[in-house]
Symmetry: C2
Subunit: 133 residues, 2 copies
């Protein structure tokens, strides 16, 4: 399902990355996945309150972008588990950059995710509160 399906609107890596994950929700889903969540219900329960139709749509998009994979973990009422591919895990660097910027420039924010993903610089985000999100 991927034989030259992409016309790039420009060769810029930033522009094309944003075409894939440049919306308000995709990276939050990746963040939660990186955090160890892996079911639809866990993802839907994040404190930002993603609408369920958006979540379903983002999961489809992220899957077809090769960022996550969907594997059944229960058969008869079919239930899927979502996990990051390497491509998805590599977004940890982007998440970390956002965490750093947000912590530095938006008062009241803390690092709740991505800290141990690709850089140990802020692995101390665990001693704080740990309500999911």
């Amino acid at each position: 399902m991927s034989t030259r399906k992409t016309f790039l609107r420009s060769p810029c890596a930033v522009a094309n990355s944003l075409d894939v994950v440049g919306d308000k929700w995709s990276l939050l889903v990746v963040r939660d996945l990186l955090h160890g969540k892996h079911t639809y219900g866990e993802l839907a329960a994040s404190p930002e309150g993603i609408p369920t139709n958006i979540l379903a749509d983002r999961l489809k998009r992220l899957e077809s972008a090769g960022i996550i994979v969907r594997t059944p973990y229960h058969e008869r009422p079919i239930r899927y588990s979502y996990t990051l591919t390497q491509k998805g895990k590599d977004l940890g660097g982007v998440l970390l950059a956002f965490v750093r910027w947000g912590k530095q420039h938006i008062p009241g924010t803390v690092a709740l995710s991505a800290s141990q993903a690709s850089d140990g610089a802020m692995a101390s985000a665990k001693n704080s509160r740990h309500t999911p999100g």
Copy 2:
């Protein structure tokens, strides 16, 4: 300008960063500004072709978010020059993370910005004026 003017939908730095620059165009504007562009016309001429109403809106949003500042460079037909604040320049780290990810995972993309600044040097991207992206 930082006395709890906004209700954060969650304390997560990623979520709040995305509320500010989590759309398809804002970071491209920042990229161009980092690249040395600074007038409306230069920004509108980027290869991704941002619609002018979107550009005008993003410039307002980025200004009220403290990411850019607008200073007049011509008086009688008033013309403004847009430049990044430190907060805006610090988004270079995010851009760089996107460049890395895009180059690694999206075939056909190249780093047209932020790449030659390598790792930590983004913050010093002032007026180097490389080839426009």
